[in-house]
Symmetry: C2
Subunit: 359 residues, 2 copies
């Protein structure tokens, strides 16, 4: 227990970089010694100024209160030298001393597929992230992502519809980003896991989100970038994945869409172009593959005409006359089908009776 408290304390000190932590541990013997070290001992290892800073930070943080808060939140605390610490996250560069966990990490969660992308995604990206995630999770693959709005959230939602998902946060568990994510976190934790390396009340910042991405890559056998503009945190995750020897995948998008500029560039640089869950699964022969039987909407009981209309629709809006031409269905029949599909939430009327696929 003393050791856990020490790890939690050390993990909470902003100025204790991984390099400094390593130096303290090897000079002083272990986490308890490092956490309880006299300021003079800290100074001997790190120098006067860093020691003073650490000492101040240490005075402002109570590991005991942190553990109480964790208990109230229902979060477990995993430390990197404990047997329940996820082994793949021990092997990444700069493994976190502490992980906070809500829910349960299973073995399959340590060999998942990450689906990541921009917060400012388009409806195309959202649709693709959700359906890819749904299909992967249905095939027994845990979908890893970052809880952020946009692609991450769509990926979690898709996975929740058919299987397991793990969220890795760029904030403390008590301060999820975006505000108001508690509901979704609970849902994810109930059937999967929510993870963070940050002290529970750490707010998100420009450095926490990129840093968190190495954990997303670390839990994954491969990373799928769905929509990423030219500069995007998702590309950082892809870089971590490459650095860690993982596969990198990208979903292509229109070259006229800023939101796909980064993903298209990744493909030019060698990422595998993904059009379906099978394109991902085929890279991992250790998973038993069976041809996907469920397309989008494949679980729905559509008659042949409705299916034909649904299959024709994509993100390019189609009008009723064009649908009539392509399906050969009468205007009356088509109207009826379109209403049914819209009521079922499968398609969306953009206005002026121009339709796109909604899922």
């Amino acid at each position: 227990m003393e050791r856990t408290l020490a790890w939690v304390g050390l993990n909470a000190l902003p100025s204790l970089t991984p390099g400094r932590l390593r130096r303290l541990l090897s000079a002083l013997g272990g986490p308890v010694e490092a956490w309880q070290a006299a300021r003079g001992d800290l100074a001997r290892v790190l120098g006067e100024e860093p020691a003073a800073m650490l000492d101040r930070e240490r005075a402002g943080f109570s590991p005991e209160k942190e553990l109480e808060l964790a208990e109230r939140l229902g979060a477990k605390v995993l430390t990197w030298d404990a047997p329940d610490f996820p082994p793949p996250l021990r092997e990444i560069p700069e493994p976190p001393p502490v992980l906070y966990l809500m829910g349960e990490l299973r073995e399959e969660d340590l060999a998942g597929i990450a689906i990541v992308g921009t917060r400012r995604c388009t409806s195309y990206g959202r649709l693709v992230a959700r359906s890819l995630a749904r299909e992967l999770a249905a095939r027994g693959v845990t979908v890893i992502s970052g809880l952020a709005p946009g692609i991450d959230r769509a990926a979690h939602q898709g996975a929740l519809e058919s299987g397991r998902t793990v969220a890795v946060l760029g904030t403390g568990l008590a301060r999820p980003y975006p505000a108001g994510s508690e509901e979704l976190m609970k849902e994810i934790a109930a059937s999967g896991a929510v993870l963070s390396e940050f002290p529970l009340e750490q707010p998100g910042s420009r450095w926490t989100f990129p840093r968190r991405n190495r954990l997303i890559a670390g839990l994954s056998l491969g990373v799928v970038v769905v929509e990423a503009p030219a500069r995007s945190g998702a590309l950082i995750t892809a870089d971590y994945a490459l650095e860690q020897g993982k596969e990198v995948f990208a979903v292509p998008g229109p070259i006229t869409s800023e939101a796909s500029a980064g993903s298209n560039r990744l493909i030019q640089e060698g990422a595998k172009l993904v059009t379906s869950a099978d394109d991902v699964l085929v890279e991992f022969p250790e998973w038993i593959l069976s041809p996907s039987t469920e397309g989008e909407g494949g679980d729905l009981d559509l008659d042949a005409d409705a299916r034909a209309v649904y299959d024709l629709l994509g993100l390019e809006p189609l009008g009723i006359s064009e649908l009539g031409e392509r399906t050969g269905l009468s205007h009356a029949r088509l109207s009826q089908i379109l209403v049914e599909l819209e009521l079922a939430g499968l398609i969306q009327d953009l206005g002026g009776r121009r339709y796109i696929k909604a899922r």
Copy 2:
């Protein structure tokens, strides 16, 4: 002249396959001998039935009238043993005995870039084909395509805006597909060339269009597939290009769009992903490259605000409030800019004040 008439005649016989033509030429000595051969001689080389068929076909075709029609149309006739026959088309498998040409073929037209794709393209495909073609042509590259509706036509139009283009028809020059293409053909011929290997009055058929594609590949250093569904003539052109050792490029598209299924697949199979003319040009160091100074709309005199709005728009419709958020411009200023951009034909209102880029 006699020789030209003979080639034109032989070229017009539907049952005279390339193999049979080769056998006749080598057995009888040359085109004149083959065209004028007695039926018995034909039978000796090809067998009774093929000879009877050829004899009937020959009786129904007058090379003299064909040449008269060519003259009326302003078309030149190039035969494969004449010095003005384009050398690259002599080297492809099954070179055509005769080419009909309107306009003028220049040396640079024999090392162009083909832009091909589906007739049933989306507005995205049309936009991309046109702007890629415009940019390539502006850089001195002749854009080769097939005159068909959809991507081909958009490519010709884009190239006409800034440089040279060559259309290769899947019909005779007197029967262009689609009907009513005469105007566009004339425009292309006036500053480039229109080519066909088929007798002038040959209508298009299921076999003429794919066959024509080997000429498109033959004239090109590389083929860019813009939008192609899973089965598409454009993929045949890509196959010919590979067979002829040319580069194959593809423009990615949404994985939810049927119209991009074939192009995305091509990229998975190794085609180079193209997001700009530079991605094509960089493969051909023999062309002197200068960074593109002209983006879409780059020739237009937009002020900074209008430019910012225009640059934000793509094919994902954006509403005025979203544009306001992203640009920081007032509603009034935005309204004014949007009207100006729409009047300039640069953007399109999809209804409900939701805008996309129009070019």
